[in-house]
């Protein structure tokens, strides 16, 4: 696949909760191997944006296309979702990493990784086990493979969550503030894992408050406020020369 392939295309997305609009006509595109950092104040709709992409929330209006296939299509101003089978196919190409890790606590690290490949993709254990073990080695968790999540630090749990997602070999990874629940000294390991993933050309959308990561690992940065995209730019331009007032004041607060 060429690097210019459009992996994600969201057009004019509207989403309300109880008649309160949260996404007010969001449009964005993510190309293959692009790392899109999404930043903005809390409550601006960043999580909702990600959650709409993988149908944890449903959009009211607009369209979503993943690798050229419609997940939801605009029809008379209303979003019309693809049939179950198409949805399943599309969603199988995306995985999400949550702020709260959401590991399965009753399964060991290795079992967490194997669960979906074995029971969703119906893979054979001898096919997927080497993949899982390789991922654990890469994330430095191989010696923890038989531990239960409750025995791990937050940073280790989040790396397991990333490995669990990667074990499904997705084309797109969504991260919702993956380091926000971590003590500062534990964020480094998680961010390094994500940087490595970016270097391996994974297509990623990363909602984050880590300005350092956005600056040197992202291909593009989006600033969101009140359900709108206020500004989109290359990281260098975004941080050294923001155009919008709201971006400027947000960055001033963040970097102070």
């Amino acid at each position: 696949m060429e690097n210019s392939t459009i992996m994600i295309q969201m057009s004019d997305i509207y989403k309300s909760f109880n008649n309160i609009p949260v996404l007010k006509g969001i449009s964005l595109e993510v190309k293959k191997s692009e790392v899109l950092a999404v930043i903005g104040p809390s409550g601006s709709g960043k999580s909702t944006l990600l959650r709409c992409l993988n149908t944890l929330e449903t959009i009211d209006g607009g369209s979503i296309k993943i690798k050229g296939e419609y997940l939801a299509k605009n029809s008379d101003g209303k979003a019309e979702y693809a049939d179950k089978k198409t949805q399943k196919h599309i969603l199988g190409q995306m995985c999400m990493v949550f702020q709260q890790f959401n590991l399965f606590p009753h399964m060991t690290v290795l079992e967490n990784l194997l669960e979906a490949p074995l029971h969703v993709k119906n893979m054979k254990k001898n096919e997927i086990l080497p993949v899982a073990e390789e991922l654990l080695r890469k994330t430095g968790l191989f010696d923890k493979r038989d531990a239960y999540p409750s025995r791990l630090s937050g940073g280790q749990q989040q790396r397991v969550a990333i490995a669990r997602a990667l074990c499904m070999s997705p084309d797109i990874m969504l991260f919702d503030e993956p380091t926000s629940a971590l003590d500062p000294e534990l964020t480094v390991g998680v961010l390094n894992t994500m940087r490595q993933l970016a270097e391996e050309q994974m297509t990623m959308i990363v909602v984050t408050h880590e300005m350092g990561f956005a600056r040197d690992a992202a291909s593009n940065v989006i600033f969101m406020a009140d359900g709108n995209i206020i500004e989109k730019a290359k990281p260098h331009d975004f941080f050294s020369n923001p155009q919008e007032e709201r971006t400027k004041s947000f960055l001033k607060n963040m970097l102070k």
Binding site: L56, C95, F98, Q100, F104, P105, H106, E115, K121
Partner: protein, 214 residues
């Protein structure tokens, strides 16, 4: 000495009836309670309301009344059940309602993130419930289930009002016949032995299902 052995032999027979009611009720009411709790949480409002009504009636009226109703009222309506079936019907309906509420609380205590993680990994509703949610629910409901199970051992003595020779009724019969209180003491020891074994089993289960907790 001969007398007390005789008493114990008679009471063991009573214990058999007690245990029979206990085990069959338990084996039926736990899975039914589980299904009722899922129906109670259903998005189909009529289903959910019906289950709520059922649970309300079962928990809101005395088990004794329910037993008498099944035992005396159903035959009047032309439904003939054997004594043991009648008792089992009342016990199962009653305990399933209690178990349903325990399971409901357990299911609702599981973090929404677990469902979301399962969904983003492509798992279906059935897979999510069976492989992710219910194993965690079991861990959380074991203590209240253990309580209810011990209550059930003692509640079986309510069939004393029906003409069934359970442990307590046998004890009373001997006491009345021989003016000797020993059978009551023996009955107490039997009940304590049963609850002791149950407590031990549940401790083991809790340790087994809780091995993933710190």
């Amino acid at each position: 000495m001969h007398n007390i052995l005789n008493t114990i032999a008679l009471m063991l027979e009573g214990t058999e009836t007690t245990l029979q009611i206990f085990f069959i009720t338990l084996v039926l009411s736990i899975p039914i309670g589980m299904l009722v709790s899922l129906a109670r949480l259903s998005r189909l409002k009529p289903v959910s309301w019906f289950m709520e009504l059922y649970i309300w009636i079962m928990r809101g009226t005395p088990l004794m009344l329910q037993l008498l109703f099944v035992y005396f009222a159903l035959p009047m309506a032309g439904i003939k059940l054997s004594d043991i079936t009648a008792a089992l019907l009342a016990f199962t309906l009653n305990y399933a309602a209690y178990f349903a509420e325990i399971f409901r609380a357990g299911i609702q205590s599981i973090n929404r993130g677990q469902y979301e993680a399962a969904k983003t990994l492509g798992m279906s509703y059935t897979q999510t419930m069976r492989r992710i949610i219910l194993p965690q629910v079991i861990r959380r409901v074991l203590p209240p289930i253990s309580n209810e199970t011990i209550n059930l051992v003692k509640d079986t003595s309510l069939i004393y009002i029906l003409a069934m020779n359970d442990l307590l009724r046998v004890a009373r019969t001997i006491v009345q016949r021989e003016f000797d209180m020993t059978p009551f003491v023996v009955a107490a020891v039997f009940y304590l032995a049963m609850t002791f074994v149950l407590t031990w089993i549940f401790k083991r289960l809790e340790a087994h299902y809780g091995k993933y907790e710190v």
